[in-house]
């Protein structure tokens, strides 16, 4: 079985809170359609690094950390611009002088991370990789942005990929469409423009405000991209792995929102019982949704030893990745 753990911060943002902040927030319609009742966010003293330390410590309760010889860390919201979270994580967890690095991807990040870990193991560079995902989008979401506050939650996951698991990870289909980068972006605070003190408040959609210091998402274009891309991505992944659709025991897609997932499921003609669709109590945690889903699916018995699982990630970049995992 795959060994994965997750940690969510303690501050709950529930629908009642959103309803008190936004007069137009329709709790019933949102929960029924988008499928999110609660999301958890960090406080001011907590970052993606602290979340990942807690997630890894949970993992080490049942795993000998001395076996780990590489850290691969996916985040877009590191504690500092530099150094990356991975070096501080290595120190905080007492993992010795093993190599580590961060990579910057969002909702496709976990699948990319698996591909990196598998490549390192197959090439003999590593024997046992600790793959970490951790993000705190809440730090970059404007308090007046109804849509993004209601969708995203913070969280972190940790996964062990050793030789035996690597052998059970199939072929990958990975890709990028950089022409659509502006549809999911934080403009300021990077290498070009600093975050500004009194940024202009901009409006998008109805009741959503942001500044260029904040996260901006064009949900319509992301949805358009997803419904065009994902059916073909699933097909290509089946072909590359020499598998027929009915040989897949379970599908775990990035948990963007329940409405989008249900439409994708119907479009691809996947039976409901073979398809994970549950972000009720964590929201969209970016690169962490897939490993959280794997963990919970193992716990509740939806996936069991011997099952073939298709993992599909898609999002910021715009970027995508899919593979097959044999549990």
């Amino acid at each position: 079985m795959i060994k994965t753990e997750f940690y969510l911060p303690e501050n709950i943002i529930d629908s009642n809170l959103l309803q008190s902040d936004f007069e137009s927030f329709d709790k019933e319609k949102f929960e029924n359609k988008i499928g999110i009742n609660e999301r958890y966010i960090v406080d001011e003293e907590e970052s993606s690094l602290e979340l990942s330390i807690k997630s890894c410590k949970k993992l080490f309760e049942s795993f000998d950390k001395s076996k780990i010889d590489f850290i691969v860390y996916c985040t877009q919201t590191p504690k500092h611009i530099l150094p990356g979270n991975s070096s501080q994580l290595q120190h905080e967890l007492g993992l010795g002088s093993i190599p580590s690095f961060d990579f910057n991807l969002g909702c496709s990040g976990y699948v990319y991370g698996l591909s990196i870990a598998k490549a390192f193991i197959e090439s003999g560079i590593a024997n046992c990789v600790l793959l970490v995902t951790s993000d705190t989008y809440s730090k970059y979401i404007n308090k007046k942005d109804k849509s993004n506050r209601s969708i995203f939650g913070d969280g972190s996951t940790s996964t062990i990929i050793d030789k035996s698991l690597s052998n059970n990870i199939g072929e990958f289909v990975l890709g990028t469409d950089g022409s659509k980068f502006q549809n999911l972006i934080i403009e300021n605070g990077g290498g070009l423009k600093k975050s500004t003190c009194n940024p202009e408040l901009l409006k998008y959609g109805t009741d959503n405000f942001f500044t260029k210091n904040d996260l901006y998402m064009n949900g319509i274009e992301i949805f358009n991209f997803t419904i065009q891309l994902v059916p073909e991505l699933v097909e290509k992944t089946l072909v590359k792995n020499n598998l027929d659709k009915n040989e897949i025991d379970y599908y775990i897609f990035h948990q963007a929102n329940s409405f989008m997932l249900d439409y994708l499921r119907k479009k691809i003609k996947i039976p409901r019982e073979k398809f994970y669709n549950d972000l009720k109590f964590s929201g969209n945690t970016v690169s962490s949704t897939i490993p959280i889903a794997i963990n919970l699916s193992q716990q509740n018995g939806n996936i069991k030893k011997g099952d073939k699982i298709m993992l599909v990630g898609f999002g910021v970049g715009l970027s995508w990745g899919a593979t097959i995992l044999k549990i």
Binding site: D26, K33, K146, G205, T206, I220, N224, F259, K267
Partner: protein, 72 residues
């Protein structure tokens, strides 16, 4: 899909009260209803739509005209 069925779907997506007038009642798609419109158009007509096009709709009639234009 018949015109009346399309209207019924749009009324449901927009949660309009009874008494709406197709070419008069002002409409606005919020984030969620926009997603529902994207799904409806893709599923039934294989039409894709941009945020700008959604924002340009003022009445149900303007959505019907958009669908007709894209279909032809």
């Amino acid at each position: 899909m018949k015109k009346q069925e399309i209207i019924s779907e749009l009324v449901e997506i927009l949660m309009l009260d009874d008494g709406y007038i197709i070419d008069e009642t002002p409409i606005e798609f919020d984030s969620l209803s926009s997603l529902m419109l994207v799904e409806f158009l893709d599923d039934n007509f294989n039409i894709s739509i941009t945020k700008e096009e959604i924002n340009s709709f003022e009445t149900i009639k303007s959505v019907l005209e958009f669908i007709n234009d894209k279909k032809n």
